[in-house]
C-alpha cells in the first residue's frame, strides 16, 4: 500500500474544508479525482504535500506505512511525493536549471547519494526535456516566469520526470492545455508509470482519462469522497454532470 488516508479532516482559518476523506492508493495504480469547483480537491493535494496553512484536525495519512503528517514539506518530497500544481508559482530570478539541480541534489543527499555532477545533470535534463517534448530553451529561464499556461503545466511534468516520484499528485495538469500538449503531458505520465509508483490525477475533464487510463475514479464533494468507481464513472459524469450525485446524497 502506497498511500492510506483515513477520516482526514482539515481546515483553514477555522473553516473546515476536508470533512473525513478516505482513500487508498496502491503501487501501480492511477486514481482520478473529480468534483465541482471549491469542494476541496486542491486542498487534499496540499494537505498530502504538507502545506502548513492547512490544519489537520483529525484523521491519519500513511505513506509507505509511515505517518506522513509528522514530516515537513521537504521531507515528504524527498520521500517521493510530488505535487503538480494547479497554479504553478512564478519565481523570478531562480533558473529552472538551478532550481532542479538544487532539488535533485537535496533529494540525493537525503537518500545518502553523492551530488550529481554538472555534466551528468545536464544530460539528464536533456533526456527529460525530450520526454515532455520541450524543445525551446525554457530551462534557462526563471521558474515559470512569463510562461504561458500550457508551458507552466508542461514544466510541471518535466519536473516530475526529473524527480521520479513514487507518488505523484497532478492537480488539473490538463487545464489550459491544447490537444497536442494534452497528449504530450499524458504520454509523459504514461512513460513514467511503473508497477512501483502511483498517481492521483485531479481533473475536470474525462478527455484526459482517455489518455491516462485510471484504475479508479472518485468524486469529491463538499470535503468528502461521495462516490467511487471505475473509468466508466468519468464518462457518466461527463454526460450527466454532478447533479445526479448530489441528489443521491
Amino acid at each position: 500500500m502506497l498511500l492510506k488516508i483515513t477520516n482526514l479532516h482539515a481546515s483553514i482559518k477555522g473553516k473546515e474544508i476536508l470533512k473525513g476523506i478516505n482513500l487508498v492508493v496502491n503501487k501501480g495504480e492511477v486514481h482520478a479525482i473529480m468534483g465541482p469547483n471549491g469542494t476541496g480537491k486542491s486542498t487534499l493535494a496540499s494537505v498530502i504535500a504538507g502545506r502548513d496553512v492547512f490544519d489537520v484536525t483529525e484523521g491519519e495519512v500513511l505513506y509507505n506505512a509511515k505517518n506522513l503528517l509528522t514530516l515537513s514539506v521537504e521531507e515528504r518530497a524527498r520521500e517521493g511525493i510530488f505535487l503538480g500544481f494547479q497554479y504553478p508559482v512564478e519565481i523570478p530570478g531562480v533558473s529552472i536549471t538551478n532550481f532542479m539541480r538544487t532539488a535533485v541534489n537535496e533529494i540525493r543527499k537525503y537518500r545518502g547519494l553523492d551530488p550529481m555532477g554538472a555534466g551528468e545533470f545536464l544530460k539528464m535534463m536533456e533526456e527529460k526535456k525530450k520526454l515532455v517534448e520541450i524543445t525551446s530553451n525554457l530551462t534557462n529561464r526563471s521558474v515559470n516566469e512569463g510562461f504561458s499556461g500550457g508551458e507552466k503545466k508542461r514544466n510541471e511534468i518535466f519536473q516530475m520526470a526529473m524527480l521520479e516520484p513514487t507518488l505523484a499528485i497532478l492537480d488539473e495538469t490538463d487545464s489550459g492545455l491544447d490537444i497536442d500538449a494534452l497528449r504530450v503531458v499524458a504520454n509523459g505520465v504514461n512513460k513514467l508509470r511503473t508497477s512501483e509508483n502511483g498517481f492521483v490525477v485531479i481533473t475536470h475533464y474525462q478527455r484526459l482519462l482517455d489518455y491516462i487510463i485510471p484504475d479508479f475514479v472518485h468524486v469529491l464533494f463538499e470535503g468528502r469522497i461521495v462516490k467511487s468507481g471505475g473509468k466508466e464513472l468519468a464518462m457518466e459524469l461527463e454526460e450527466k454532470g454532478y447533479d445526479w450525485i448530489k441528489q443521491q446524497l
Binding site: V53, E74, A77, R78, V94, N105, F121
Partner: protein
C-alpha cells in the same frame, strides 16, 4: 601631530576646532578653495547636524552615532601602512587601486599617478597644487552646502581624498578601485573629499569600497563630486562593508552633461548606520542615469538611501531600482525625489523600491516624492514591502529543497535583480559571492579589504550551489 578629540561630535566643538586650525586647514588652498571653505563653515554654523525634525532625516537618528567620543586626525598619521590596502584586487579585473586609510590618500611616494593617455589618479590635495586649472573649476561647484549640513562640514574641513581625471575622448580600460580602509586604535571621525572628472566622450569604471579593518567605532562623512562630461560614460560602484559600530554618511553629486550616461550601483552590505545621499543633475539634454541599490541589513543596523534626481534638461532618462532585505531589528529608509523642471520636456523617470522584511521587528520607510513642472513627461514610481512569498516557499520545498535553502534561493533571487545589473563580469561574480555570504551570515569584515575576502586560498563552502550552470 596628535589627533584632535571630539567628545562628542558637536557643532560647537567643530566650530572651535576650525578656529584653532584655520591656517593649517587652508594652508594649501587657492584663494577660491579658501573662500569655499569659509562659506561652507558659515553654512555649517547655520545648519548644524540634521535632526529628526527635518523631513529628510525624520526616520534616521544620528544622535547616538554623534554622541560617542572620537579622535579626529586633521592630518594623516605617520604609521599609516598602505600595504593593508594595496593587496586588494578583484581577480581577472584590470584595476588601478587607490588606497585610502582613514580617508587619507596614502601612497605618499607617488601621490599622483599620471598615466600615458593623460589620465591622472591620486591625491586631491596634490592635484590642487599641481593641476589647479583642472581642480578649481569643479571642486565645490556641485555640492549643496546651503542645505546639507554634512556637505558644509566636509567642505569646511576636508583637505584630501581622491582625484581622478579622464581627459576628453579617453576610454579607460582599467577600472579604478578606490579602497577606503578604516583602522585606528581609538574611535575615529573621518572626513574625506573626492573629485572625479570625466571629459567629453570619456569612459571610466570606478569601484569605491568602504571597509572596516577591525571593530572599532568610526564616523565617516564623505563627499564626492563627479562630473560626467558630454557623451561620457561612467560605471560607478559603491560597496559598503563596515563593522557594526560604524556610521557612514556618504554624499555624492553626479553632474551629467549632454548625452552623458551614468550607471551607479550602491551595494550596502554592512554597517551600523549608512546614509547615502545621491544627487543626480542632468545639466544637458539626452542624458541617462540608472541608479541601483541593494542593501542587506540585520541586527540593529540602519540604512537610509536618499536619492534626488534633477531633470533640469529635456529628453533625459532616469531609472532607479533599490531593493533591500531587512532581518531581525534592522530598519531602513528610502527617500526618492524626482524633480522635473519646467523645460524638461520628454523626461522619462522611473523609481522603484522593493523590500523584503524577514521579521516583524524589521522596518522600512519608503517615500517617493515626485515634483513635476512639465506636462510632457513619463514618470512612474512604485514601492512594495513584503515577506518571503509563502506560495513560492511551498513550491520550492515541495520539490525537496529544505526550508533554509529555499529561503536562500528566494532571497538571492530577490537580490539578483540588482546584482545582475553589474556589467563587469568578474566584479559581478565577486559581488554575487559576497551577497551569498552576507545572506548566509558568513560575510566578514576583512583583514585587508572586502574584495579580498574570498581569495582562492579560502574557498567558501556553500550548502547549496547557487551558481548558474
Amino acid at each position: 601631530m596628535e589627533p584632535m578629540v571630539l567628545t562628542p561630535i558637536s557643532k560647537e566643538r567643530l566650530l572651535d576646532l576650525y578656529q584653532e586650525n584655520r591656517s593649517s586647514l587652508s594652508a594649501d588652498d587657492s584663494p577660491a578653495v579658501r573662500a569655499n571653505r569659509e562659506k561652507a563653515l558659515d553654512s555649517f554654523r547655520k545648519l548644524g547636524f540634521p535632526d529628526k525634525k527635518m523631513e529628510d532625516w525624520r526616520n534616521t537618528d544620528i544622535s547616538k552615532s554623534l554622541g560617542l567620543a572620537y579622535d579626529y586626525p586633521l592630518q594623516p598619521s605617520e604609521e599609516d601602512d598602505m600595504q593593508k590596502v594595496f593587496r586588494c584586487n578583484i581577480p581577472h579585473l584590470d584595476t588601478a587601486v587607490i588606497g585610502q586609510l582613514n580617508g587619507w590618500f596614502v601612497s605618499k611616494d607617488v601621490p599622483l599617478m599620471e598615466l600615458g593617455n593623460g589620465i591622472i589618479i591620486g591625491s586631491l590635495a596634490e592635484a590642487m597644487k599641481k593641476y589647479p586649472h583642472l581642480v578649481e573649476p569643479h571642486l565645490g561647484n556641485y555640492t549643496d552646502v546651503e542645505s546639507n549640513g554634512f556637505a558644509a562640514l566636509n567642505t569646511a574641513f576636508a583637505t584630501d581624498g581622491t582625484f581622478i581625471y579622464i581627459p576628453d575622448g579617453v576610454k579607460s580600460e582599467k577600472a579604478v578601485q578606490l579602497v577606503n580602509v578604516i583602522q585606528h586604535r581609538e574611535n575615529i571621525f573621518i572626513q574625506s573629499r573626492n573629485l572625479i572628472i570625466l571629459g567629453k566622450e570619456a569612459k571610466l569604471t570606478v569601484v569605491h569600497c568602504d571597509d572596516s579593518y577591525d571593530h572599532q567605532p568610526s564616523f565617516s562623512n564623505i563627499v564626492t563630486e563627479i562630473v560626467v562630461g558630454e557623451g561620457a560614460f561612467l560605471d560607478h560602484y559603491k560597496l559598503q562593508n563596515l563593522n557594526n559600530n560604524s556610521t557612514l554618511v556618504s554624499s555624492t553629486w553626479f553632474h551629467l552633461e549632454r548625452e552623458a550616461k551614468l550607471e551607479s550601483h550602491y551595494l550596502s552590505l554592512n554597517g551600523a548606520l549608512l546614509r547615502n545621499n545621491t544627487y543626480v543633475r542632468f545639466n544637458g539634454s539626452f542624458g541617462s542615469a540608472n541608479i541601483y541599490g541593494l542593501y542587506l541589513m540585520d541586527n540593529r543596523q540602519h540604512i537610509d538611501n536618499y536619492v534626488a534626481v534633477d531633470h533640469a534638461s529635456p529628453d533625459c532618462i532616469s531609472n532607479e531600482l533599490f531593493k533591500g532585505i531587512l532581518d531581525e531589528h534592522a530598519t531602513g529608509v528610502f527617500n526618492g525625489h524626482i524633480l522635473v523642471q519646467r523645460d524638461a520636456q520628454r523626461t522619462n523617470a522611473s523609481q522603484n523600491n522593493r523590500n523584503l522584511l524577514l521579521t516583524d521587528t524589521a522596518k522600512i520607510n519608503s517615500k517617493p516624492f515626485l515634483e513635476i513642472y512639465n506636462d510632457d513627461v513619463k514618470c512612474s514610481h512604485g514601492s512594495t514591502t513584503g515577506q518571503l512569498d509563502e506560495t513560492a516557499m511551498f513550491y520550492l520545498r515541495q520539490r525537496g529543497i529544505g526550508e533554509d535553502n529555499a529561503r536562500m534561493l528566494l532571497m538571492f533571487a530577490f537580490a539578483d535583480e540588482v546584482v545582475s545589473k553589474i556589467a563587469i563580469e568578474p566584479l559581478r561574480y565577486r559581488i554575487e559571492d559576497m551577497v551569498k555570504k552576507r545572506l548566509q551570515g558568513e560575510l566578514q569584515i576583512c583583514e585587508q579589504c572586502v574584495l579580498h575576502c574570498s581569495t582562492p586560498e579560502h574557498p567558501m563552502e556553500f550548502k547549496i550551489d547557487l551558481s548558474k550552470i
